[in-house]
Symmetry: C2
Subunit: 312 residues, 2 copies
């Protein structure tokens, strides 16, 4: 994959975390986690122009930061402050289909007040990870002229910060959420109706992530269904959605255009990166990939979705 010199720059804002994850494969402690960790690693395969804003505590291993630098990611917006890194403790059901949060220790993330380095303010693509919508708006206000702003959110913010969330939605192009969040946000169970309602809040496109049921893209009256690859080995679903978002945004930065057709391809690249992520713990599934392996799995998605046009 040639990383085009004309590629667009991608700014990623999100959490950087340490996770303790229990489940059918036992307890794993202090795994690298957080939305920005997955997004940046997935996107870095597509473009050399990824920058990250986040906060880490003094317990955060420097090697994870160094690793991002080696991938060409600009980490000047990752701030290390006194205190503990955001720590999430969760447990997956034996079938990995559901999980529960056992503990959330915000640590330094509690006072996260993202300040963009000057060099970040010209970013063309922005991914606002799942943080307080007031902070998402704050970050967005610091970017001069973004061409595409995508955002994630979660049930907590839909519950307690709906007004700020709606303000944020009025300013973003793409919202990426899961099906339950879409239903909650729109107060409508039917996904097609929910999508129509959410698109009236501002975004021009809505991506609904459905885990092993794939992802849906609603935009401009059209709908696209990206399938999920049935995988033999699924170890850790943590970060699947963020890896999807990273692959999607990374491909858009790489492709250099935002046409509907390119966005569809980007959805599949997102699905490719999500499929790699769940095959290993933490970000391990995103480590050591090559253009060949990414292309190979993209081709497997082509085969997965392929059927002939016929006329009756």
């Amino acid at each position: 994959m040639h990383k085009r010199s004309a590629h667009r720059s991608l700014l990623v804002v999100g959490s950087v975390a340490l996770d303790d994850i229990d489940g059918p494969f036992g307890m794993h402690r202090d795994l690298l986690g957080g939305s920005a960790s997955f997004v940046a690693r997935a996107a870095a395969y597509f473009t050399r122009s990824v920058s990250v804003v986040g906060v880490i505590g003094d317990d955060f291993p420097q090697r994870y930061v160094d690793e991002l630098v080696e991938l060409g990611v600009d980490v000047s917006g990752i701030e290390r402050t006194a205190g503990d890194t955001f720590h999430w403790v969760g447990r997956y059901a034996p079938d990995l289909a559901t999980r529960e949060t056992l503990d959330t220790r915000l640590g330094v993330f509690a006072n996260f007040d993202p300040k963009l380095p000057e060099s970040y303010r010209d970013a063309e693509l922005v991914l606002l990870g799942n943080i307080d919508p007031a902070l998402q708006l704050n970050v967005l206000g610091q970017v001069r002229a973004p061409k595409l702003v995508a955002a994630d959110t979660m049930n907590l913010w839909i519950d307690i910060k709906r007004d700020e969330l709606l303000k944020m939605l009025a300013k973003v192009h793409t919202l990426m959420i899961n099906d339950e969040e879409a239903r909650q946000l729109a107060e409508e169970h039917n996904l097609r109706r929910a999508a129509a309602k959410i698109l009236k809040y501002g975004p021009t496109s809505l991506v609904i992530k459905r885990g092993d049921a794939g992802a849906l893209l609603f935009h401009g009256g059209g709908v696209f269904a990206a399938p999920a690859m049935p995988l033999t080995d699924v170890v850790d679903p943590t970060g699947a959605g963020d890896s999807f978002a990273g692959g999607l945004m990374g491909y858009l930065a790489y492709a250099g255009d935002l046409s509907p057709s390119t966005i569809r391809t980007a959805m599949i690249m997102g699905s490719v990166m999500g499929s790699f992520a769940v095959e290993r713990f933490s970000v391990d599934g995103l480590r050591g990939l090559t253009t060949e392996r990414i292309q190979q799995r993209f081709d497997e998605f082509i085969e997965l979705a392929r059927f002939e046009r016929v006329r009756l």
Copy 2:
């Protein structure tokens, strides 16, 4: 759609029922239901050579039988006997995502002992609907030289008739079940592993129906994901899977070959018919369709699944 003179004949065995359905749209009584009712109607749009084996009681409205005749379906294998028609009473949750069975009155279905009229015994395609696997085997033994045998089953038979079910599976080409049934049958949560295990029981292909998450086809080492169309109006999910099976088998009969490529197309035709079925109560969504409307929705599925092949 020209119904080819060279099309293959399709034999459908299954239940013919009257349903009482409660849910967000109120209580609806004595709706036409049963797997064979949906399968035959969906398949009849693709081939003039559909025949049905089933049993009805003396309370069953003759107009539903006459309607099948008008569609060109051979109903000489539908036996009317003294007693009540199989009656299912169920209630859907407000979001239509789940349902519970409130009552099952087998009536004449309790003594169903399918006898094929002589003219049925040369059927080339056979769909063994969800009945006791011992009966499925009995029916199959009466067909002389079927080219493709597909079967459905359910949790009840996996629980209490596993041995007969495995005997039946050794003789069918295609098993069509939902994801929970696949997991239960294979005693394996991971669908790809479950599919590999089930294919060792005998079938050369496995179709896993996943409702609004679409359907998966596992065959010959390959996998195909048929998307589900996100619909604005979903009224009654009853019979969606059977309409899918009818569209699939009907298209195979119409196409006249059983190549992997044709089976993929047939999966989409099944999805098309399932999508029509859920938009109305009972079989109403399958009534009055035209080749044009079926083609139009097939084209919408093409658009739903379309993305470009790119090289990184």
